[in-house]
Amino acid sequence: MTLKDLKVGQCCTVEKVAAQGILKRRFFEMGITPGTEIYLRKVAPLGDPIQISLRGYELSIRKAEAENIIIKNIED
């Protein structure tokens, strides 16, 4: 499962970042590393991008990017 499939209000843990190059680097420096807990706070009115909460702050990413984040331990 990837972060794209997470539902609003659910939490998950990052298992793997399946991106390459600059995108991978961006994820890492923004704190999306394996083991990070992520909470899906909301989806934009038109359905994309999404807003996630992690490491005490809020981040917005497009679903196309979220697809590169493999997740586990999904809970409501």
């Binding site: 600059i22 989806v43 038109l46 992690l54 490491r55 990017e65």
Partner: protein, 691 residues
């Protein structure tokens, strides 16, 4: 002794506010050589030290990895220029993410002092923080400050001056980690080679940082040694992931304790509560449009209650400035007449120089008020929300959610709109936004539509024609996006990873400083490019080729030039020199198009007098300039899509900072104006032939 201190930190950490608080009004703003990133440098104005201390504001970055122009500049500055110390500003309310950059900065052999910002916000929410925990975990001095309240700044600078004299050896939190052994091996060999900052370089080399490797010019043996270590480590793991993970883990377990209560995952902060409404699934969009409308209304709004006209700040100021420009123009003429100046010199000074420059200055209030409001939206953090809400819609034609605001502003005036495109980080999206923004019919083009429709269309049709012009601009912007995204920019799709910063009250002094900078820039442009072109245009329309002043503009150089250009416009339905002349003059300022018709009709400026307007309308419908209402509409379409006024063209070239791209943008606009007008004229005539 004089010191140079670099200021580094995450975007939204209060860096600009701190920089302004430390340097006051003596900062120089320019650009880093060869790139579009702003460079700010200023002298420390405080009284802590007798030495001259200059502070360089590095671009806001999340790490020192060599990818974005900002990161490259910030890193190269620290590594190559070797400032005497680095102030690392850290947002105390977003400690973990902010300290990621810190863990990299302390690896460099340059003293670091942490300025822990927004401690007043923590205090307000009764959250305790412990500076000693941070100092112990990171091994550097930490000074709590509040940049916008100017608290703790003296302590900060004392600490900075204190460390500048000390030699600093970089240290890394990774040295004692699971890959510490390997890191230390590389550090040792780099230290032997007398490389600058062996600790920082070792970790970056381990991560596979190519630019740094090239920069260090290591011998093949050393390279091989490092490669072997890297290969053995990366057999069953991704080193970049490991390094990032170790940094974050260290911060979480050693630094998080500094703040007694960190925000939990599902917990709602005040900002989240505000966002619950502002970016709501259903209300998010209407609220966004309402805010945009309100912004627009504050700049361009004016309405009547009874017989009293209520003007919003933008219009009010513009009216005042217009009155001032008009009065000064009047006095100027009187004065020149009084001192018996010759006719041609009065013409040059009043119509040429003063008229041209004054017309452009008349727009300054709109631009400044608009810019102020946008800066407020930016400073409060709403801009990220607007981008969040609109991104999906704009993505469809190659733009980003952040493109919406500049394009909306384009309906007011292209100058601030083009500047507003600065918020876009992606170069291609920025160029595309700048390219299509002038298609939005700006306020100065409205007089053209009003004049032309009054002369050539009746009643409801006139309203529909104006509406069609506005829609045409939007449609062409969308088509342009689709074209460029499909054929030009196809290889570059940048990720959209955007922080949603906490909502904050804007800092008034920073806002005022932004306004002052804008005003200066505006005055500079008006004084150079616009001044020069005003003189040239006046000269062309007042003299003939034997440099004799002409009574009738038909005999002027401009008429001759317009006559040549007229052939080009023939297929569009307005192949006469007057129309070509009007289009050319429109490049100075769009409202000049109508004034030009007035001059050509020989009655004066129709914008100033209703009765004159009737005369000019009669003239234009009988002079055979436009053979049909269709050709009049094509003239409007051409003016809409052709490159904007000089002020906007100047802004475009200033913002894209590339001659090639300025040329591409202007040529594209010219081509689109021509092709679209040609199509409208051709298809329109065909339809009329059939029916």
């Amino acid at each position: 002794m004089s010191y140079r201190i670099a200021l580094a930190g995450n975007p939204n950490s209060g860096k600009t506010t701190l920089f302004n608080a430390l340097t006051g009004s003596n900062a120089h703003v320019g650009n880093w050589p060869g790139v579009t990133v702003e460079k700010k440098e200023g002298l420390y104005k405080g009284k802590i030290s007798k030495e001259t201390i200059s502070i360089v504001d590095l671009p806001g970055i999340y790490s020192t990895s060599p990818y974005s122009p900002e990161e490259i500049i910030a890193r190269n500055y620290i590594i190559n220029e070797k400032p005497d110390a680095v102030i690392n500003i850290v947002d105390a309310t977003n400690l973990i993410r902010n300290l990621y950059l810190t863990t990299e900065l302390i690896e460099i052999d340059i003293p670091v002092v942490i300025a822990l910002n927004f401690v007043d916000v923590l205090e307000k929410e009764n959250i305790e923080f412990d500076v000693a925990v941070l100092e112990k975990a990171l091994g550097v001095k930490v000074v709590p400050i509040s940049a916008h309240r100017k608290k703790g700044l003296d302590d900060l600078m004392k600490a900075v001056i204190d460390v500048t004299s000390k030699k600093s050896i970089g240290s890394s939190i990774l040295e004692k980690s699971s890959i510490g052994n390997e890191i230390n091996q590389i550090i040792d060999i780099l230290a032997q080679k007398k490389v600058f900052s062996p600790v920082y370089s070792a970790i970056k080399l381990l991560e596979g940082d190519k630019p740094l490797e090239d920069n260090l010019q290591l011998d093949d043996n050393t390279k091989q040694f490092i490669n072997n270590i890297r290969d053995s480590l990366s057999k069953d793991q991704d080193i970049e992931a490991v390094v990032a993970d170790l940094r974050y883990n260290y911060i979480s377990s050693n630094c998080q304790k500094a703040v007694k209560k960190a925000k939990q995952l599902k917990e709602m902060s005040k900002s989240d509560k505000a966002d619950k409404i502002l970016t709501h699934k259903i209300w998010g969009l209407p609220i966004f449009f309402l805010i945009m409308f309100a912004m627009f209304f504050l700049v361009f709004g004016e309405f009547e209650i009874g017989n009293v006209t209520i003007m919003m700040p933008g219009v009010l100021l513009a009216t005042g400035v217009e009155w001032l420009i008009g009065s000064i123009g009047g006095w100027l003429t009187e004065f020149l007449t009084y001192v018996n100046a010759s006719d041609w010199s009065i013409g040059l000074v009043v119509d040429g120089i003063y008229g041209g420059v004054g017309a452009v200055f008349g727009f300054a209030p709109y631009i400044l008020v608009m810019y102020l409001l946008i800066s407020i939206l930016e400073a409060t953090g709403y801009m990220s929300r607007a981008a969040f809400v609109m991104d999906r819609a704009f993505r469809k034609f190659g733009l980003s959610g952040k493109s919406f605001v500049p394009m909306l502003m384009g309906f007011g005036c292209s100058v601030p709109a083009v500047m507003g495109a600065r918020t876009l980080e992606n170069e291609n999206e920025r160029r595309l936004t700048i390219m299509v923004t002038p298609f939005m019919s700006c306020g100065a083009k409205l007089p053209i539509w009003l004049f032309m429709t009054a002369a050539f269309f009746k009643g409801m049709t006139a309203t529909l024609v104006i509406f069609a012009i506005y829609v045409l601009g939007i449609v062409m912007a969308i088509i342009t996006g689709l074209i460029f995204n499909k054929f030009v920019f196809k290889k570059h799709s940048s990720p959209f990873i955007m922080e949603m910063p906490a909502y904050r009250a804007p800092d008034i002094k920073t806002l005022l400083r932004i306004l002052l900078d804008k005003l200066k820039g505006f005055a500079k442009r008006a004084g150079t490019i616009i001044l020069l072109s005003s003189i040239i245009i006046w000269f062309l329309q007042s003299f003939n080729f034997s440099f004799k002043m002409v009574e009738n503009p038909d005999d002027s150089m401009m008429a001759a030039i317009g006559g040549v250009l007229a052939y080009i416009f023939k297929p569009l339905g307005f192949g006469v020199w007057q129309a070509a002349f009007a289009i050319l003059s429109g490049f100075i300022a769009k409202e000049v198009v109508v004034s030009t018709f007035g001059t050509l009709a020989g009655v004066g400026d129709p914008l100033e007098d209703e009765g004159l307007m009737e005369q000019v309308k009669t003239w234009i419908t009988t002079a055979g300039i436009f053979v049909s209402p269709l050709s009049a509409f094509c003239f409007m379409a051409f003016n809409l899509l052709a490159p904007p006024c000089l002020a906007a063209i100047g802004t475009i070239s200033q913002e894209v900072k590339s001659r090639k791209w300025t040329a591409i943008i202007l040529l594209y606009q010219l081509a689109i104006a021509y092709i679209v007008s040609l199509l409208i004229y051709g298809i329109g005539n065909l339809i009329m032939l059939i029916f």
